[in-house]
């Protein structure tokens, strides 16, 4: 068959959002690829220049539907850096619990979407069902299911609800049990391994040079985690392992996320055990001083980063958002070329695309 370009997207089951992957195929083999983004560009950075500092928190929530809490937390961290604000320790611990729950929920959503990419409906529904437990916990904590609007500049919105600790510990135990079941369903399946092992190789040097971050980078054998290497919040007190895998393929990225979920459950247990008493919120000043602030967190998808410039008013002069997937997806051609059309789905699935933050 002659070579031809296929548009996978903007409306395609593979895309998990609204973007376009142009693939040039020779029969079933991919010979060239070109991602196109921008279909969901909302101009968040421009909108933020016209909002006061607290008003941006719900907007930062809407950057990513998969892990909205990380983004509002990152925004609050950035503004706290700009304002030189100390956050009460209880608030930091609550934040860590919430972020790690969000990370598990996000990874479970990824697992669900990835199962569908590979055509395994059972995986999709099981992962979505278990994600519901963490969504329910976050709902009890913050009052909403997807866009939590929970962190505040200088703390969090509410204290922990009653019985939250008990439920959270129960959810962590449940998660540990379920992860074993997933490993039966995924790792135990020969077809799953055939589809994943040796597919979508992104070598270590390429991953470093192309700016790929997060589980995708750790799947390429670089054990670099901002929670460990650039510690923020109360992560220095937590004892956890950085998941990494030397195989550089789709299976490695899958394993990294599975291990990360287990480690997140560990962090939640520790943070709940160490939860101090006291205030969970301080009153943030209305206006920020002139200057700049940066914040970076380990988003479930990679390195999330914000850069804020304050000009002495109650509105930021400039807010720049670094989206991990925006950079990672530019490395897609490196991973795709030479594999089959069916592998495009698997490889792009392991990137965990979230178009909300990519296009902003």
């Amino acid at each position: 068959m002659a070579e031809m370009w296929i548009n996978m997207g903007p409306q395609h089951p593979m895309t998990h959002g609204l973007w376009n992957l142009k693939v040039k195929v020779d029969g079933e083999t991919v010979v060239d690829a070109e991602p196109e983004v921008g279909y969901l560009h909302r101009g968040v950075e421009k909108i933020c220049e016209d909002r006061t500092y607290p008003q941006i928190i719900p907007i930062a929530d809407r950057l990513c539907y998969g892990s909205s809490l990380t983004w509002s937390h990152l925004y609050c961290m950035t503004v706290e850096d700009l304002m030189d604000l100390k956050v009460p320790p209880r608030a930091e611990h609550i934040r860590v619990v919430a972020i790690e729950m969000q990370r598990i929920a996000s990874h479970l959503m990824w697992l669900a979407a990835y199962a569908v990419d590979l055509g395994m409906m059972a995986g999709f529904l099981y992962a979505m069902r278990d994600r519901e437990i963490f969504i329910d916990l976050l709902q009890a904590l913050s009052g909403s299911r997807i866009t939590y609007n929970y962190p505040r500049i200088g703390g969090v919105a509410h204290d922990l609800p009653p019985n939250f600790q008990r439920d959270a510990l129960r959810a962590c135990d449940y998660m540990d049990k379920k992860l074993k079941e997933y490993e039966d369903l995924y790792d135990g399946s020969t077809v799953f391994l055939m589809r994943n092992q040796g597919v979508g190789i992104l070598r270590r040097e390429d991953a470093m040079n192309l700016g790929v971050t997060g589980p995708t980078m750790r799947g390429s054998g670089i054990a670099y985690d901002l929670r460990k290497d650039h510690p923020y919040s109360v992560y220095p007190d937590m004892d956890f392992e950085v998941a990494s895998h030397p195989d550089c393929d789709c299976y490695a990225r899958y394993r990294v996320r599975m291990v990360e979920m287990r480690e997140s459950a560990r962090i939640i247990r520790q943070a709940l055990a160490k939860m101090p008493q006291g205030k969970w919120r301080t009153i943030a000043p209305r206006t920020a001083p002139e200057g700049t602030g940066i914040g970076r967190v380990e988003d479930p998808r990679g390195e999330g980063m914000m850069y804020v410039v304050g000009d002495g008013t109650d509105k930021p002069y400039r807010l720049k958002i670094r989206s991990p997937i925006f950079v990672s997806v530019s490395a897609a051609p490196k991973m795709l070329i030479g594999y089959k059309v069916a592998d495009v789905v698997a490889i792009m699935g392991t990137l965990d695309m979230c178009i909300g933050e990519t296009d902003r």
């Binding site: 560009h41 940066i294 530019s330």
Partner: protein, 157 residues
């Protein structure tokens, strides 16, 4: 280049080390090197020497990863802020360079770090800063036929 064997943060003062070697290598163009907090340093660089500085940063100082390129529209200049991470010494370098309003252009660093490619395209798209020697400097988030750069302060939607 093994991360596991790389010197940790306790070995000396990596922030000072980087700042000193930068200032020695480019005495005329590097200015205002300061340590913001632990693991974060900032330096200003003239835009003429940006490419050479970036190459030195990657090749001899071990900054393998470009985290973020942000363009800021100040009343008198465009400022480009490069946040560059070193995986080995766990450092974040904030490299600031300015470009005048009537000629917003710097050298592209996408041949140094592949990850800079799309971020430079984004900065060009939204702020209108031109990156010289960029492999494909096209709009990325906005449609191709857009006539404006929306993040500039003089843009009113």
């Amino acid at each position: 280049m093994d991360i596991e064997k790389a010197p940790s943060m306790i070995d000396g003062n990596p922030e000072e080390k980087v700042l000193r070697s930068l200032a020695e290598g480019f005495p005329r163009t590097i200015s205002g090197g300061e340590k913001l907090k632990s693991g974060v340093i900032r330096a200003h660089v003239e835009r003429t020497d940006l490419y050479a500085v970036c190459q030195t940063l990657r090749d001899s100082l071990g900054f393998e990863h470009i985290s973020m390129i942000s363009a800021v529209d100040y009343p008198d200049r465009f400022e480009l802020v490069y946040h560059i991470t070193s995986y080995q010494s766990r450092l974040l370098l904030e490299l600031v360079t300015g470009t005048p309003k009537d000629d917003p252009g710097v050298d592209s660093v996408s041949s140094v770090w592949g990850g800079a490619n799309w971020q430079e395209r984004e900065a060009y798209d939204l702020m209108g800063v031109v990156f010289r020697n960029h492999p494909k400097l096209e709009r990325i988030l906005l449609p191709m036929d857009t006539m404006f750069h929306p993040l500039r302060k003089d843009f009113k939607g």
